[in-house]
C-alpha cells in the first residue's frame, strides 16, 4: 500500500471498526466483506474514479449495513442470540428490559405464593406432584406475554398442562407398607418437570417449536439458566448461612421464618431472576459456556471411565444394585446435557478440533457405560420381573442410547467423513420431543400400568 492511498486505507479502517460493532458480524466476516470492498474499490478506480469516489460508491453498492448484518444474523442463529439483545429494536430498549424485570418479579411473587399455598396444605406427596405446576406456568406466562403468543397456542398449552395436572392428581396412588410412598408417584414427580419444561419450550419458541433454530435457542436458554441459577443459589446459600449464624449468636431461632417464608419465595424467585438474566444478558454468559464445557468435558470423561472400570471389575453384573443403575442414568443424563450445552455454544462452521475428538471420546465411553447398564438391567428384569422402577430406568436408558448413538455417529462423520456439524446440531433438536414423549408415557401411563403402587 503506497502513501498515495493512505487516505483510502484510513477510510477502510474506519469502515471496518464500524462494521465490527455489529454483534452478528464476526471478525472473519468483516475480513471477507473488506476483501469485497477492496475488490469493488479497485475496479472503480480502474474505471477512472478517484479514491474517495471509489470508496463511497463501493460502500453504497455493498448494501445497507443494517440489512447485511440482519442477513448474517438470520443465517447464523447462534449469533442471532446475541443480535436480539445487543441491537436494540427500539431506543427504549433499557426501559423495556426493566419493565420485563418488573413483570418477572411480579410473576415470581405469584409463583412463590403458589408454592407457599401448596406447602400450607401440608401434603408432601401433593407438593411433589404439583410444585412444577405452581412455578412453571408463571414463567410460561412471561414468555406468552413477551412473545405475544397466539391464543391457539396458549389454549393448547394450558389445556395440555391442565389435563396432565388433573390426571396425576386424580390417580389413587397406594404406598407400599414398608416405605409408604408409591414408586409410581416418585416416577411421576421426577418425570413431570421434564414434560412441563419441554412444554415451556413451546412458549419460549413463541409457538414455533418445530423450528430447529428456536429449539436450539431453548437448549441454550436452559443451559445458561442452569448456570445462572447455580450461581444465584450459591450466593443465596452463603447469605442464609450468615443469617443463621448471626441470629444463632443472639439466640433467635430463624428456622421457622427461613423454611416457612424465605425458601418458598426465594427459590422460585432465584429461578425467575436467572431466567430474566439469561434473557437480558445472554452475551455475558455466552463467553462462559465454552469455557465451562471445556473444563467439564474432560472431567466427565474421567468420571465415566472410572464408572466403567468399577462396573466391569465390581463382580457379577446381575448383582449390580438398582440404586447404581439409577445413578448411571443420572450420569448419562449429565453427559447428554453437557454435550447439548457445548454443541449449542459451538460455531457450526468451525472445523473439527481436538475438543470435538474429546467429545466423541465422551460419547463412546458413555455408550459403553450405557450398554453395561442395559445388560445389567435386562439381567435383573429377567430374574425378578418388571417393576415400575426398572421399566422406567430401562426405558430412559434406551432413549439415551439412541440419542448417544446418533450423536456419536454424526460426530464421527463430521470428523472423518466430510459430514457437517450442522447435522450433529439438527439431530439434537430433532430428538428433543422423544424426551417429552417418554416423560409423558411415564407420567400418564405408568401409574395405571403398575396399579398405582
Amino acid at each position: 500500500m503506497s502513501g498515495v492511498h493512505a487516505g483510502l486505507e484510513e477510510q477502510i479502517d474506519q469502515w471496518r471498526t464500524w462494521v465490527l460493532r455489529r454483534p452478528a458480524i464476526t471478525p472473519d466476516d468483516a475480513a471477507e466483506l473488506e476483501d469485497n470492498l477492496r475488490g469493488r474499490v479497485d475496479d472503480l478506480r480502474a474505471g477512472g474514479l478517484d479514491d474517495d469516489e471509489a470508496f463511497l460508491v463501493a460502500v453504497r453498492r455493498m448494501g445497507d449495513l443494517d440489512d447485511v448484518s440482519r442477513e448474517f444474523a438470520r443465517e447464523h442463529s447462534e449469533r442471532l442470540w446475541k443480535q436480539l439483545v445487543l441491537v436494540p429494536d427500539a431506543p427504549s430498549d433499557a426501559a423495556r428490559r426493566w419493565r420485563d424485570l418488573g413483570v418477572l418479579i411480579a410473576l415470581a411473587l405469584c409463583a412463590g405464593g403458589a408454592v407457599k399455598a401448596l406447602l400450607a396444605l401440608g401434603d408432601d406427596e401433593g407438593f411433589a406432584l404439583n410444585v412444577g405446576f405452581a412455578v412453571l406456568p408463571f414463567l410460561a406466562a412471561y414468555f406468552a406475554w413477551s412473545r405475544r403468543l397466539s391464543g391457539r397456542v396458549v389454549g393448547a398449552l394450558v389445556g395440555l398442562a391442565a389435563a396432565v395436572a388433573v390426571t396425576v392428581n386424580l390417580y389413587p396412588f397406594v404406598g407400599s407398607p414398608d416405605d409408604d410412598v408409591a414408586t409410581t408417584l416418585v416416577l411421576v414427580a421426577t418425570h413431570l418437570p421434564v414434560l412441563l419444561w419441554l412444554l415451556l419450550g413451546v412458549a419460549y419458541a413463541g409457538g414455533l417449536w418445530r423450528d430447529h433454530a428456536r429449539r436450539m435457542d431453548f437448549v441454550r436458554f436452559t443451559g445458561e439458566l442452569v448456570v445462572y441459577f447455580a450461581l444465584i443459589a450459591m450466593g443465596g446459600g452463603v447469605l442464609v448461612a450468615l443469617l443463621f449464624a448471626t441470629f444463632g449468636v443472639v439466640d433467635v431461632d430463624v428456622q421457622p421464618f427461613v423454611s416457612g417464608w424465605l425458601m418458598p419465595f426465594a427459590v422460585p424467585g432465584a429461578f425467575f431472576v436467572a431466567a430474566w438474566l439469561v434473557e437480558a444478558k445472554q452475551a455475558v454468559v455466552e463467553n462462559i459456556a465454552p469455557v465451562l464445557t471445556r473444563v467439564f468435558t474432560p472431567l466427565t470423561l474421567l468420571l465415566l471411565v472410572a464408572v466403567l472400570v468399577a462396573l466391569l471389575t465390581g463382580g457379577q453384573l446381575d448383582a449390580v444394585d438398582r440404586t447404581l443403575l439409577i445413578l448411571m442414568d443420572a450420569i448419562l443424563l449429565l453427559v447428554l446435557g453437557l454435550l447439548l450445552y457445548s454443541i449449542s455454544a459451538r460455531d457450526p462452521l468451525a472445523p473439527g478440533t481436538a475438543f470435538d475428538w474429546l467429545q466423541l471420546a465422551l460419547v463412546v465411553t458413555a455408550f459403553a457405560v450405557n450398554v453395561v447398564a442395559l445388560v445389567a438391567m435386562v439381567t435383573r428384569i429377567a430374574d425378578a420381573g418388571w417393576t415400575a422402577n426398572k421399566t422406567a430406568a430401562l426405558g430412559l436408558d434406551a432413549v439415551l442410547l439412541v440419542h448417544l448413538v446418533g450423536t456419536g455417529w454424526l460426530l464421527w462423520r463430521f470428523l472423518r467423513q466430510g459430514g457437517t456439524f450442522d447435522a450433529v446440531e439438527r439431530w439434537q433438536t430433532r430428538y428433543l420431543p422423544v424426551y417429552a414423549a417418554w416423560a409423558a408415557i411415564v407420567v400418564v401411563a405408568f401409574p395405571p400400568a403398575f396399579s398405582f403402587a
Binding site: E71, E75, L349, G418, G419, D422
Partner: protein, 118 residues
C-alpha cells in the same frame, strides 16, 4: 430490469454452486461472475451473498479456506462432492421448470403469431 426478490433468491443457490463448479473463487469474484453472466441485470448485495455462502458451507456443499495474497486475507470457496450432487439435483429441478416455462412461452407466442398471419 427489475427481477423479483423471490426469483433472485431461488436462483441464488444453483447459480453459486454452478459458478463454483468451474473452479474455486472468493466472494467478490462470485459476485462479479454473477454480474457478467446476467449482463449486469442480476445485482446481489453482500447481505445476500455471504450468508448464502455460509449456509452452503454449513450444509457441507462448499468448503472454505483462508489465503493471504499480498497481505490481504481472502476466503476462497470450493465445491465439495456433496455440493456437486446438490448442483446436479438443482439442475434437474430447474430443467423441469425451464422446460415447462418454455412450453408456456411458446403457447403464448403461438396464437398471436397465428393471428398475425390470419
Amino acid at each position: 430490469m427489475h427481477i423479483e426478490k423471490d426469483l433472485v433468491a431461488a436462483a441464488a443457490t444453483p447459480l453459486v454452486l454452478g459458478i463454483l463448479a468451474d473452479g474455486d473463487l472468493h466472494g467478490y469474484a462470485i459476485l462479479k461472475r454473477v454480474g457478467e453472466l446476467s449482463d449486469g441485470r442480476l445485482q446481489w448485495t453482500d447481505g445476500m451473498l455471504y450468508p448464502l455462502l455460509h449456509r452452503l458451507e454449513r450444509n457441507g456443499w462448499v468448503s472454505a479456506r483462508w489465503d493471504a495474497e499480498s497481505g490481504r486475507k481472502r476466503k476462497h470457496y470450493t465445491l465439495t462432492a456433496a455440493g456437486r450432487e446438490a448442483l446436479a439435483d438443482r439442475q434437474a429441478q430447474w430443467d423441469v421448470v425451464a422446460d415447462a416455462l418454455r412450453q408456456v412461452w411458446n403457447n403464448l407466442q403461438g396464437p398471436s403469431a397465428a393471428e398475425a398471419w390470419a
